[in-house]
């Protein structure tokens, strides 16, 4: 494995870990089935792109987009995160206040499809279906983006982001606020009856998740330098859901593990599939199609046989508490 490939894998892993932690906060901890998650990642990517790119009149005006502010790092990444959070406000106010959770999921899925169609067809905003290209990464004017040094630099920039997101998510999940979110997930009406405001709780975590999703998009676009509607079709969200379900809902470690097992794992495994099998050349779309089948089977398999995932949500045992009988027997076996 060469260092370029290793760096690519590391950046993808970091982006997926950040995204899965955000989705875990919304879905795993709080029970919000955000089927439009990829839209929040995408707005972060587009925002970071137009903040870092020159005006669209540059480079022969071959692409059309709004903005083009040529702002230095870290402003595009911060802008991407803020954009994710800002988008969560109107979406949350429309979807999370009145609708039941299953209708919320459907509405968010529809939002994802609509947003993608609008950006794809309205070329004047973000260059339509062709997407925007030549997005400059952080410090790409100072270090050659094709150099090995730049690859290492990029990995070095993503790691603090992963750690920051991890710290934020851990503090939320392990706090009394996280406990309120989990109570709302378990029984919303009962949570309301003990004084919890479910709209406020949902809006808060929806915005936090939006900010983190936006950051993940900003990091990714700086690395791959392009962003187009084909990057963020609604099934991309399903991959992240599969990761959180496989890893373990409600558990940040599980979300991280899921990110490594599902999106990154599939990326790696498909690379190892030979181009010809015993002299037979498979159709070009067979492998990507089989990936979707595999992801679907993975979700069904885990929900059926191990719904709690590889790393289930941990039980909170407080200091000085009697050890539960099932934990004693589990420990002795």
């Amino acid at each position: 494995m060469n260092s370029y490939y290793a760096a690519t894998l590391a950046v993808y892993a970091a982006v997926d870990i950040i995204a899965c932690i955000a989705l875990n906060l919304q879905f795993g901890v709080s029970g919000i089935v955000n089927f439009s998650f990829i839209v929040f990642q995408s707005i972060g990517a587009y925002t970071a792109a137009v903040l870092s790119m020159p005006p669209d009149t540059a480079n022969g005006a071959y692409q059309v987009y709004i903005g083009g502010f040529q702002l230095p790092f870290p402003i595009p990444w911060i802008g991407g995160a803020i954009a994710g959070g800002l988008l969560a406000i109107p979406v949350g106010l429309v979807v999370l206040r009145k609708l039941r959770s299953d209708y919320q999921a459907i509405s968010l899925l529809v939002l994802s499809v609509i947003a993608n169609s609008v950006i794809m067809n309205a070329r004047t905003f973000l260059n339509g279906a062709a997407g925007i290209a030549q997005v400059p990464g952080p410090f790409s004017d100072q270090v050659d983006p094709l150099s090995q040094t730049y690859q290492l630099l990029y990995v070095g920039l993503t790691i603090p982001c992963v750690l920051l997101v991890w710290l934020v998510a851990s503090r939320i999940v392990n706090s009394p606020f996280g406990r309120s979110l989990r109570a709302m997930r378990e029984h919303e009406v009962a949570a309301t009856a003990i004084g919890k405001n479910p709209v406020q709780l949902k809006m808060t975590i929806f915005i936090v998740g939006g900010v983190i999703a936006g950051l993940s998009g900003a990091i990714l676009v700086g690395y791959i330098a392009v962003w187009a509607p084909s990057e963020w079709l609604y099934p991309e969200t399903i991959i992240l859901f599969a990761a959180v379900i496989v890893g373990g809902r409600g558990n940040n470690v599980g979300a991280m593990l899921g990110a490594l097992l599902v999106p990154v794992g599939f990326f790696e495994v498909t690379r190892l599939i030979p181009a010809t099998i015993g002299g037979w050349v498979p159709p070009p779309n067979l492998i990507p199609a089989m990936e979707w089948v595999a992801i679907g089977l993975l979700i069904i398999g885990f929900l059926w046989f191990r719904p709690e995932g590889v790393r289930p949500e941990p039980r909170r045992v407080f200091g000085g508490a009697p050890v539960p009988e099932d934990l004693v027997s589990a420990g002795s076996s």
């Binding site: 009394p176 406990r179 989990r182 109570a183 029984h187 009856a193 003990i194």
Partner: protein, 247 residues
Amino acid sequence: MAEGVHRHFEGMHAVDGVSIEVPTGKITGLIGPNGAGKSTFLAVLAGTLPASEGTIVYDGQDITRMPAYARARRGLVRTFQLPSEFARLTVLENLLVAAPKNRGDSLWGALRGKGYWMVDEQPLIDQARGLLKRFGMTAKESDYAGTMSGGQKRLIEIMRALMLKPRVLLLDEPMSGVHPSIVEEIHHYLQELRREGLTILMVEHELHLVERLCDSVVVMAQGKVIGSGTMATLRQQKEIVDAYLVG
């Protein structure tokens, strides 16, 4: 106090002009046949369902339009007819989550870390453990609430409500589906809570329990109040006996 409370469901009058006053520091029973509108009325009082018409006054304030969570924060707390524990939270967490004042129960408090909110958390853990001891559930503290028996889930709900330090407790069939030994326990705890000055309005089907426990009783049928008083006086009224108390 409820005055002329209605609750309609697309033309069906589940609660039809109910007016009652719940005496402070007493246990009031709310009885009636199935479909009388008792649970719906309780849900309207708690704010879980909005009233279609009428006025609800609590502690001298009109709370008719106040959302359920705000009523709970003011001490008007309900339990549910069906078990409503937070299944994948431990028994202790089920109690702690109801505690109203914890600096860690907000995004900013949570982000500031354990050192910031543990000052509030520790006394609440002590308070919750005190309740668990009182209700004989200390050994179950770290078990998932979803694994408890029906009776234990009822106790969790009552303890959870008590964590809010309520002034009025609305109990929806707290004894239903509960083993007789735990029924006696709940009965005993409710008497204790009354002695401590808590006001309770309780929907219950088991008339012998209502008779033993409640200071006064309100009878509902077809969404309306058809009588009120002690069980002894209600048994004297033929229309109530015909509607509900037969047997």
